[in-house]
């Protein structure tokens, strides 16, 4: 894909976000789960962070020497899913990542194809909502390259991720198009280990760890989040966690 087209599509996606935000009042400054009394605080935080991050700064990156000796692996560490175990046994050679929804060119990406796209390596801190933090190096492809390759349509506003272990979550274009938002296939110089989400783990560095989904199975581009799954934007919402986790 040529560079000018790439840039035009990025701009189109950003214009779409701005346009729909303008159409619906301040909706661009409200997270999808806004509603309850507690949601008022969440909405204020989300809106103020959007102002603070308006120039799209990067989360801190470290030297390799800062990589943690033992990066914790929590939640699913070995999916019981039969299909997953079959793909794993084959070294994920048959694994494909579908990119569907509001795209001009639906994709089914192999690991090889992801590796052939422009790579990005970042040593970042994982900030778990529980309170712990650890540093690791992640190598992968910035999500925006994948979205460009799929030719996302101007009306696209959210990118939804479905995972092997049943987790699902979403990002709006503000975070989805950020260069540090990466589909990582490498960790600390090797492949992403199974316990950390092989073959692909999402990295969302400006939000808490639970947004960085493991075992990503498919990517869906959409304009409305309320029609996906239970309509809250993320699986964790029903357990009381906020969709926006830059906190």
């Amino acid at each position: 894909m040529s560079e000018p087209l790439t840039r035009r599509q990025l701009l189109a996606a950003m214009a779409a976000v701005a346009g729909s935000a303008a159409l619906t009042g301040c909706q661009g400054f409200l997270p999808p789960t806004y509603g309850s009394l507690l949601g008022i605080g969440e909405a204020l935080t989300f809106a103020s962070h959007r102002v603070l991050l308006r120039k799209q700064p990067f989360a801190r990156e470290f030297d390799r020497g800062m990589i943690s000796a033992n990066f914790p692996a929590i939640n699913t560490v070995d999916p019981e899913d039969e299909e997953y175990q079959r793909l794993r046994a084959g070294g994920f050679a048959e694994w494909r990542l579908p990119v569907t929804g509001l795209v001009g060119k639906p994709l089914a990406l192999s690991l090889e194809m992801l590796r052939s796209m422009p790579a990005r390596t970042q040593v970042t801190q994982h900030n778990c909502e529980q309170g712990w933090s650890a540093i690791a190096e992640w190598t992968g492809v910035s999500l925006h390259h994948v979205l460009e390759a799929a030719a996302i349509r101007p009306e696209a506003r959210y990118v939804v991720f479905h995972c092997v272990d049943g987790w699902w979550d979403s990002l709006d274009m503000f975070d989805a198009l950020h260069p540090q938002t990466v589909l990582a296939y490498g960790m600390n110089g090797g492949d992403v280990p199974v316990k950390h989400g092989a073959p692909i783990r999402l990295r969302v560095e400006r939000q808490l760890g639970y947004k960085s989904l493991k075992f990503v199975k498919s990517i869906q581009v959409t304009d409305r989040i309320d029609q996906i799954e239970d309509g809250t934007g993320a699986m964790v919402v029903k357990y009381g966690y906020s969709w926006y986790a830059g906190i």
Binding site: G41, E42, L44, L53, N70, E129, Q130, I247
Partner: protein
């Protein structure tokens, strides 16, 4: 500014205000902001504990996780089930706390509340009065004085320390735990020496504030709980002052 208007009615030259009880209770703005501050502070402590118990260990620097030596470990079970509502409540309360605090701060500067009531006067540092005050506090001989802003030196020092030291450190160390805020202001990490350091400072400062609250409530109780609480909420009518 309502506070200055109220204070102006009892206007006395500043140098006499210290010795002559002329103030007529807390200004309306102080009463409202104190009430909102109390409610949000309790919510912040409760939700803060809910978040803390999900990982009841404190570290220094950037790294902190099970398997790494902790600076301090709370002797409690890890409980992961309260961070959801805990964090939502913590941030709602923090917004109330901060907005309310900014209103208090600006009005306190503009309305001269800080200068009139919290800035220590030179004579308060005189050795005899200072020694007497410390002795009275240590022996819990607290005068059942008027319920208004006529504070002793120890009181002023405690209030100033809470308002201008502990609270800013509390807010800044809290912001340092946000991966979004620190993307915009990475200097925060330099200030506290890392994310886990900021988390530890956040806890220690909150412990300091809770300790202040305990002493504060003790003093309020010793100097007449009901009257003090009424004076800081609905306010004092002049008839009450006469009693």
């Amino acid at each position: 500014m309502p506070s200055s208007a109220l204070e102006a009615t009892g206007s006395q030259p500043d140098d006499r205000a210290a010795s002559i009880p002329t103030e007529r209770g807390h200004s309306r703005l102080v009463r409202i902001t104190h009430t909102l501050n109390s409610v949000s502070f309790v919510a912040l402590v409760v939700s803060g504990i809910a978040i803390l118990i999900a990982h009841p260990r404190l570290y220094w620097g950037e790294d902190g996780y099970f398997g790494l030596p902790a600076l301090f470990e709370f002797p409690i079970e890890t409980n992961l089930s309260h961070t959801g509502w805990g964090r939502s409540l913590h941030f709602l309360a923090a917004w109330v706390f901060v907005i309310n605090g900014v209103i208090y701060l600006v009005s306190g500067l503009v309305g001269r509340h800080f200068r009139r009531h919290l800035l220590p006067r030179r004579e308060e540092f005189a050795k005899p009065s200072l020694v007497a005050e410390i002795r009275n506090h240590l022996t819990l001989r607290i005068p059942r004085g008027g319920a208004g802003p006529r504070y002793s030196l120890l009181q002023k020092t405690a209030y100033l320390f809470v308002i201008f030291i502990l609270t800013p450190v509390m807010i800044l160390s809290g912001l340092t735990m946000s991966p979004a805020v620190t993307a915009a202001y990475p200097e925060l990490f330099t200030l506290f020496g890392g994310r886990q350091s900021a988390r530890t400072v956040h806890f220690l400062t909150s412990a300091g504030l809770v300790l202040f609250l305990a002493v504060h409530l003790l003093m309020v109780t010793l100097s007449g709980f009901r009257r003090q609480v009424r004076a800081m909420t609905v306010g004092v009518r002049s008839a009450d002052e006469e009693v």
